[in-house]
Symmetry: C2
Subunit: 206 residues, 2 copies
């Protein structure tokens, strides 16, 4: 498109690098930025510069943090001893937004995947094992995707931790509020095999 | 979301200001930016700074430009004397991408809309009339939306220009390749009233 100025082309290119943003959308966003230059650009620049300069990963759990330790690990109100293990910060945020968990987290930074050349040493598993020793952790809740890589990772970690740490996985089954006819065969089949006695079903929610 | 660092929150906020980007999408984009910090942020910063410092509007036609005059107005291969009048740079780009027009453009920067308090003086109409005097323009092609505001603007401009400038509007009718049953009643009705004789229909495409 030689009819566009190079600075505008560069902005479209930057925007089209983002996931799910095609050329057309990038152009629409770039036009918005140009048309609202005075309001949009300074805020954008400052937030990008802040993220570039400040944002790092929590040295304890791997969550995003502006300092060495993230706001969750620093919070004295969080229950100690219970750690929820997740693949990524994305999953941490999703769990945090449910408001159902008050312990701390541990972000692995991926899952074991021999086919992609990702082994246990590429993940933050050693840090997790060190935390278990140092922080008197008694429970690990594995909130890991139910995939081959997820199950491999879950099994590997469960083998590494000492017997006095209880390891559980988040419940797997049909979604709450979901209609059965839309559940996939595998999930539905497993949900029948691993059925929950009625008295436990409602106890669990208390 | 007090579990997120403030720099990350600020980036989400900047992104969610863009049109069509909600909170969830903004978070996904922000995560991509953070996870690919080293590749994404420098390019983003430089393109935003470039746009902020360089990008302006062409003093002749109102298109985006890195200099006083845009690449289209500077291009000696463009046909002089024929000007396509559009509402916004967005429309200019859309027409330019068809490859069917080789003259120059004039961007009005809006349409006359008494209800929104936009009169002829708020648009680049005076500049257009000055160009007609100065540049020996013989033809104006009005590529303006077929709305009340668009028709008002079209009529107003056609009244202002001298008789020796021919003024036309881009064709209105059913879309090419479109199925008739999906055309709206008004368009279809007008398309019948303003039918084109068969010999002109195919002549026009040559």
């Amino acid at each position: 498109m030689n009819h566009l100025p190079s600075s505008f082309e560069a902005l479209i290119h930057s925007l089209s690098q983002l996931p799910g943003i095609g050329k057309k959308t990038a152009m629409r966003l770039a036009m918005h930025i140009v048309d609202h230059k005075k309001n949009v650009i300074p805020e954008f620049l400052s937030s990008l510069e802040q993220v570039d300069a400040q944002l790092t990963n929590c040295t304890v759990c791997g969550n995003y943090a502006d300092d060495a330790v993230c706001t969750i690990c620093r919070n004295p109100k969080r229950r100690t001893g219970v750690v929820c293990v997740v693949e990524s910060v994305k999953d941490l945020i999703a769990i945090e937004e449910t408001g159902q968990f008050s312990g701390s987290y541990h972000v692995l930074g991926g899952l074991i995947s021999p086919i992609d050349g990702i082994g246990p040493d590429d993940l933050r598993i050693d840090q997790l094992l060190n935390r278990i020793k140092g922080e008197e952790i008694t429970e690990l809740i594995m909130a890991i995707s139910s995939t081959i890589e997820g199950d491999t990772t879950l099994y590997y970690i469960s083998q590494q931790v000492h017997d006095d740490v209880s390891v559980s996985s988040i419940a797997r089954g049909v979604a709450f509020g979901g209609e059965l006819e839309y559940a996939d065969d595998f999930t539905l089949g497993r949900a029948i095999l691993r059925r929950t006695p009625i008295d436990q079903l409602f106890n669990g929610d208390r």
